[in-house]
Symmetry: C2
């Protein structure tokens, strides 16, 4: 019995969208699925029971953060991540690679792995494919991710920077590892590193080569450990915005018979059109009979686009991060609860929403007060709303696939379906 099985229930008639179920040692989850992010062994501000009550059936944990604090050895000693954080449903952990590149102060990157300084205490830490596997084995997550080299987008344009600022940012505005392992040349400077630049293409090529070499090492270590009966290793496709590189990477990654595959290196600073192009190109290339996971994406509209391209799994910090900052998602956009316009508004965030905040009758005026007064309950309530809204969207997406009801989805979720499905 493998650690993970995927059952494809239905493929949409007019898109690549798929309805399915994934079975893991900690139970099943329906796909397309959205995974709330529990970076430090907690979805910020929420009890595990509250997260489950939003409809979430699987969580994501961050290997990088957990290996630094409290340490995966300690978590293993205490029974693994499920027991540690009191979440008995499935958990997926990432490989740590993305955070090493975005948070760590990198000393050295080579074909073996990465040496970096911890962002917590400055200590020097090595992360290799083998070490990433070992840490994820200690965490005991149901799905573990291969250690990959994830290059940032070629450049961030003004629109993205503004959007990042406006929404509290899920878009990294730093590109510290654009030149990782490459000589710095004039062509490679950040300002000139457009998607067609020599530097960018070269960086993506190197990343792909490393990602494949590291995947080999991950598969070997994981199978050798005997943990593949309990934990499912997913491979990750890189390739940046270069579609040929994506194709090549899919072929090489899928040469390994793995229980699932992910599209990485998306939403690392590129624009929505580029995200769309990469996802629509890459998802259909992945095997039909395995779950497909788009890492770190995204806004509701990104999810719908990706589902229709054939993606099954998502994670993103947006519902929690924006919620903490007072941004509430709505089917037709979002609102900033700190705005003065909500000062005396007795309405809930969203009439008809069945989340704890809206059903509980907490008014926008009250929520604004909580944010003005810097009270924890503000972030808690808006996180609860946003997490539930994302799960409501996934529920409606699954219904749209099951019932061929995309027009109803577009009517109900205008912001997630901006172009409709004409």
């Amino acid at each position: 019995m493998p650690a993970l099985t995927y059952k494809l229930l239905k493929t949409d008639a007019c898109s690549n969208a798929r309805l399915g179920t994934v079975h893991t040692p900690h139970g099943s989850f329906e796909t397309p699925a959205f995974m709330p992010v529990g970076t430090q062994a907690t979805v910020k501000g929420l009890l595990p029971g509250q997260v489950a009550d939003t409809g979430a059936q699987i969580l994501l944990g961050n290997t990088y953060h957990l290996m630094l604090r409290p340490g995966s050895e300690l978590i293993a000693e205490l029974g693994g991540l499920h027991v540690f954080m009191r979440w008995d449903k499935p958990i997926l952990t990432d490989s740590g690679g993305f955070q090493v590149f975005s948070l760590g102060d990198i000393n050295r990157i080579n074909d073996d792995g990465v040496s970096f300084k911890s962002h917590l205490d400055g200590s020097t830490i090595e992360l290799t494919p083998q070490r990433s596997m070992q840490v994820q084995h200690e965490l005991g997550s149901d799905i573990i991710m291969a250690f990959d080299d994830c290059p940032p987008a070629a450049t961030l344009n003004d629109h993205q920077q503004q959007r990042a600022k406006q929404f509290g940012s899920n878009v990294s505005t730093r590109a510290p590892h654009l030149h990782a392992g490459l000589k710095t040349t004039n062509e490679a400077s950040h300002e000139n590193a457009g998607p067609d630049s020599v530097a960018y293409r070269e960086r993506v090529k190197v990343a792909n080569e490393r990602t494949l070499r590291w995947l080999d090492a991950c598969v070997k270590y994981h199978r050798g450990s005997g943990r593949d009966a309990d934990q499912a290793l997913f491979g990750i496709v890189q390739g940046g915005t270069d579609l040929d590189q994506r194709t090549a990477c899919v072929e090489a990654v899928c040469a390994h018979d793995l229980p699932g595959y992910a599209i990485g290196g998306v939403a690392v600073g590129e624009g929505p059109d580029e995200i769309k192009s990469v996802v629509e190109h890459t998802a259909p290339l992945l095997p039909d009979d395995r779950p497909r996971y788009l890492m770190g994406v995204g806004y509701p509209a990104d999810l719908v686009t990706a589902v229709r391209a054939g993606v099954d799994m998502f994670d993103c910090v947006l519902p929690s991060r924006n919620g903490r900052n007072g941004f509430a998602f709505l089917p037709d956009g979002s609102i900033r609860l700190k705005n003065a316009t909500h000062r005396d508004d007795p309405a809930p965030i969203e009439a008809g929403c069945d989340c704890v905040a809206c059903v509980g009758g907490f008014s926008r005026a009250y929520l604004r007060h909580l944010f003005m007064a810097d009270e924890m309950l503000g972030p808690i309530l808006v996180s609860l709303h946003n997490q539930r809204l994302y799960q409501r969207l996934m529920l409606d997406i699954r219904t749209a696939i099951r019932d061929d009801a995309w027009l109803a989805l577009a009517e109900r979720w205008p912001a997630a379906c901006p172009g409709g499905f004409a």
Copy 2:
């Protein structure tokens, strides 16, 4: 039908402890009762339903904070404090006086009231007996408190300052209004203002006179407003640690036929022996047929002492404030969850506790991790435990009175009953 009725169910055979029930327009609560503090219209970090689930039957709100932000007019416009914060059980609000003295930058204090600068934006605000009543009418709380002049303790000794520091302080270490309205003399300087000093005695005398004058004004305003059918005004006894002043103040305050009476000016910096002496002297002087409320107290041992002196109602920030800082109360003391000793401890805060944190199986190791990682869930879980522990204590206190079971109480709650009841 008055706004509030008190039913005395039983008086303890071997102490002045009383079992009772208080009826308000928003339902009843059993006494002795502990009221969690919802300073800014929220018990910090907790949903109202979670607070109710700890067993709390009545909350306290702070008039000072709410009048400054978001403003009592706005709360009234939105339906009052119960609706605003989604708490449909009884609410008591204080008068704002204590916070004006401890948080406000006082410009002027005279027989009419206090003029102070807001600690939020520096604006000048007047608080008078009439204004305090008006604000509490707008808040719509079931029990409103008379506006009083509350002098601080004569001095803070080293032990108290250390204790305040250790526990994140519910003890004000400032005494800004010791000389309020008095000429500053050498005798009145902080260092020399011992409990027997001329300055302290004079300050207490002035406070008593003002408290009584202001009470007259509150009663007149409240009755004239017609709100006394919905909101019950409690009088407050001051007098510092001077027992003769306490006696005189009880007599004058109780000359007003009010639905309840409070002991104020306690736990403002004096030591546990002084608190005990004042409470044991004052509580029995108050009418038998009205609830007695000891304001701002305190540690579990303070509650037991005060209950046995005949006190029925309590409020204190300690369960939440200490919880936020990682201090968990236990029946036999307290623990600091940030301590390294809890690093790998799989035990819950308290085996056998029925709170969300302990029943949920969240280990001390996990809680320590949350505090180390500055995650909101740490304060949330330990606040939930501490609030439930306080309610468990009150439940056991009520059982002890009902069943004459004080020895069982002392066995179960050693820290709250340090001397036993031999």
